[in-house]
Subunit: 529 residues, 2 copies
């Protein structure tokens, strides 16, 4: 079977998912990860519909990508104007990338009912738009919207939109199941019909409204499509898009199509979790291949089988996708993970040493309070340092108080201008105690300022450390505002970035611990440099 090129649209179609809103920084981080995973095309956004997306393309020029090409997305020109007069198309050119995907309508009903124009004008819109972009030296993928619905209602017209796109120079024809309602055999038939009519490469873009986005994608590949458009974790409008993680695993492990290397495949679970973190969504534990429950076993009947033959109840070796087998009752691999991680940091823990046992116990305790170190290596490293008998922290937290006060007149609902947030902190450096205070824009910002104020006189270089991300996750939904809170903070000194964690039932305390770790980690690193 021909090779397949992977086209990620997490940053555009994935961002249409209810509840997802990526910042430009999120998008740049995700693009970098996708490149490392071996994705061939990364669609960054739709500059014509969203000013944030235009900014992404500016900043994306600073990325150094090894595998991927950045793609810009837009639609065919509006009816009744010239392509070069359509601001949406001009912005595609201005994005400054060499590949563009443009969406056009392939369904006659969509043309007449939604575009409210003639079938002929729609064809001109497709041709003109592709011509215009090609004349600017841009490769063009034509996104044939509603292709499968169109192919059912008017197959001749659906095919005609493709033929027009080919005539205008389209480099790939992407057949879209926009409403996500197609069945695999319908996809097979429609793709085969197009493959018979043209040699231009075909792509497939599916949605999961019928629960068949993956099956439809694979059916299209079997019928001849060589470009697959999907999103990490299947994020996307309504029920989502085809899940790129599952698509990749199915292509590599089930169909023998080498779309990425074995090594890259081994990062699949990591990338999936990274993107859900950026989306601030809890990773789906039941997700095929990459979910935490994907290879976990609960039934005694199955456990018994696994003891005799590890593959008895798993369809693949989970390490191939960077996941692992878990038993739900007793999780014994924890210890090994910790020893392994410590070794990565140059700290050698033996399984049996007393200190290791104590450290493990301490970590278990912290985890029960909401700490989690998967995404907060800096806090984990500090934890290991603190277990060393001769560790001298650059500062110690003594105590703090935060006051948040609002004074407003009845019947108005204005915002933070009238808010006062103040933090009082007590910190120990060496033998000295510093007691100081600061105001801030919110309680966490006040704490951050007060803590820095206390430390700057001892460590003036701390000035260059900045907090770049702050995320909050509530751990047990059922308990509402009394739940465990986990705060993840990302700090940067302009060169390196590091992440720290704080856990508590109190969001202010969790933030305080994560903030302090962020500063302590940097100070420790400076000393050892």
């Amino acid at each position: 079977m021909a090779s397949v090129e992977l086209y990620d649209t997490t940053l555009r179609d994935g961002a249409q998912s209810e509840g997802i809103s990526f910042s430009v920084v999120d998008k740049l981080h995700i693009a970098q990860k996708l490149d490392e995973l071996g994705i061939h095309y990364i669609e960054g956004g739709w500059p014509g519909s969203n000013p944030k997306d235009a900014e992404f393309y500016k900043k994306a020029k600073g990325l150094s990508l090894k595998n991927a090409r950045i793609v810009v997305f837009g639609s065919t020109r509006r009816r009744g104007i010239k392509a070069e007069e359509d601001n949406n198309l001009v912005m595609l050119v201005e994005a400054g990338v060499k590949v563009a995907t443009i969406v056009g309508k392939s369904s006659d009903l969509q043309v007449t009912r939604v575009l409210k124009t003639t079938l002929e004008e729609n064809l001109s819109m497709i041709a003109d738009s592709i011509h215009y972009l090609k004349s600017k030296g841009i490769d063009v993928f034509f996104d044939a919207e509603h292709y499968f619905d169109g192919y059912k209602s008017n197959p001749e017209y659906a095919l005609q939109t493709l033929i027009v796109a080919i005539g205008a120079g389209a480099d790939c024809l992407v057949l879209c199941d926009t409403n996500g309602g197609a069945l695999p055999d319908e996809v097979t038939k429609a793709v085969k019909a197009v493959a018979k009519a043209t040699k231009v490469p075909l792509g497939i873009h599916t949605h999961n409204d019928g629960g068949l986005a993956l099956a439809n994608t694979l059916a299209a590949v079997q019928a001849g499509a060589t470009q697959v458009q999907a999103t990490i974790n299947g994020y996307g409008e309504r029920c989502g898009n085809a899940n790129l993680c599952t698509v990749i695993a199915a292509l590599k492990l089930k169909m023998g199509i080498d779309c990425i290397t074995d090594e890259q495949l081994g990062r699949l679970t990591e990338v999936s979790h990274f993107v859900s973190e950026a989306a601030n969504l809890v990773p789906d534990p039941y997700s095929p291949y990459v979910g935490t429950s994907a290879f976990s076993h609960k039934a005694g009947y199955h456990m018994d089988g696994i003891m005799k033959w590890p593959d008895a109840y798993q369809h693949i070796d989970p390490t191939r996708v960077g996941n692992r087998q878990r038993t739900v009752v007793s999780d014994q691999s924890g210890k090994r993970n910790i020893i392994y991680k410590a070794r990565e940091m140059g700290i050698d823990l033996s399984t049996d040493a007393k200190e290791t046992q104590g450290l493990l116990k301490h970590i278990k305790f912290l985890e029960s309070r909401g700490f989690q170190y998967d995404n907060a290596e800096a806090s984990f490293e500090l934890l290991l340092h603190r277990a060393e008998p001769d560790y001298k922290p650059p500062f110690e937290l003594v105590d703090f108080m935060v006051v948040v006060e609002s004074r407003r007149r009845p019947s108005t609902r204005k915002a933070a201008e009238e808010m006062l947030s103040e933090a009082i902190v007590k910190v120990k450096v060496g033998e000295e105690i510093i007691h100081t205070a600061a105001e801030g824009d919110g309680p966490v910002n006040a704490l951050d300022r007060a803590l820095r104020k206390a430390l700057l006189q001892f460590y003036p270089s701390l000035k260059q450390v900045k907090l770049v991300d702050y995320k909050v996750r509530i751990l047990e939904e059922s308990v509402g505002t009394e739940s465990q809170v986990r705060v993840l903070i990302e700090s940067s000194d302009g060169v390196d970035e590091w992440r720290t964690v704080g856990g508590s039932t109190n969001i202010i305390e969790a933030s305080w611990l994560a903030l302090a770790d962020g500063l302590e980690y940097w100070l420790v690193k400076q000393k050892t440099k």
Copy 2:
């Protein structure tokens, strides 16, 4: 195409899902609901492996079912003993139902490596067990475990296990993709081979490890299977089973197979949510057909289409499965979404009216402060109410103060036990001002308690309103702790759930606004009931 019988295994295989533990009462309620949905067979459990399951069968005799037959599950006899000496089989008879499903191995590797017996003995185990149950007047479905893996490694033996089952009188041969790794074309081939060899009805039982449980189920039906085994919401071990909700909708609406009536189909969303409630799991919003996001629209581009043609971006009419179209109001959507959304709530906004323009401006302002109505219809509805000249809020926020204090000794890093969180609130109800205070587990919990304390004397029924979820999102990463904060709160009165939002640069204020909206929304709803 032949009709299809639906076999639900939520109560047995679904209960294997990590995080699910049904009580006997839960199981009885679910069985009742499944019967109302028109399910033909309900598997209640495995009495031989779980004492709770034996109790279910006792109590299930009290159910009055209109459509469904209760089925008991067990395995073939142990090796080396007689069927009637196997307690597991005896308990199946004692369950007192007229249909039993027994699982036996169809894969040669599973027989030799896991059962650790000969291929011949396994065949005897299958035959003896079926004989025994049939001699007790019980219909027997033979669950051919690992059928598709077995068919790949040793097709002759796999088929032989079925032939033995037929010889012993099996009433249905259920082909299982136990490890969930099969591809649809493998399923098609294997099912067709069996259909050619026997006239005994075939069933299909799939798992979702490869993300293809649904596709494999539909492929089997197209190849001749007439019984479908699945679970509500796809609950099940690892990545779950085929999702019965999606299976039913696909059979009825996509393949024209009348497995339940149109009226029963209209209850699909309700049944899905009922079962997730019983499982104490948050319903998956992105679930095909039944998810709350399954027919929700966010992109302005799509909204524009829907205003012109409701079906432009939906694959079926959502009311057919008891779901509904929703508009997501987000910073990506324009005026049209807002007007459409208001219309859903029975409030008519015209595009040009002065009030509409004012409201839109106000919404844009709030969005720039971090509010987002995507996921917070209740706050959005309040916003519309507040724009009405005669709206009288049930209460008004005047002001509040929050104090969070930690007192700790140097060099220890203990947690929330030593924290104090206190909130002082001032609220106006009618002409009365209430000024009160409460402590809490964290600042938001303290605010929540103080606010309720102030309001309960006026609205004692507020007691039943509970906060069920609290989410925090930081909006602009670049600015760190000074960023906009968005708090989303989900409240419930045990029957309905609603979501509210608060935005501010101050996390405490954002929480305060979302909390207050959650209570105000419910009070307004009560008044209009």
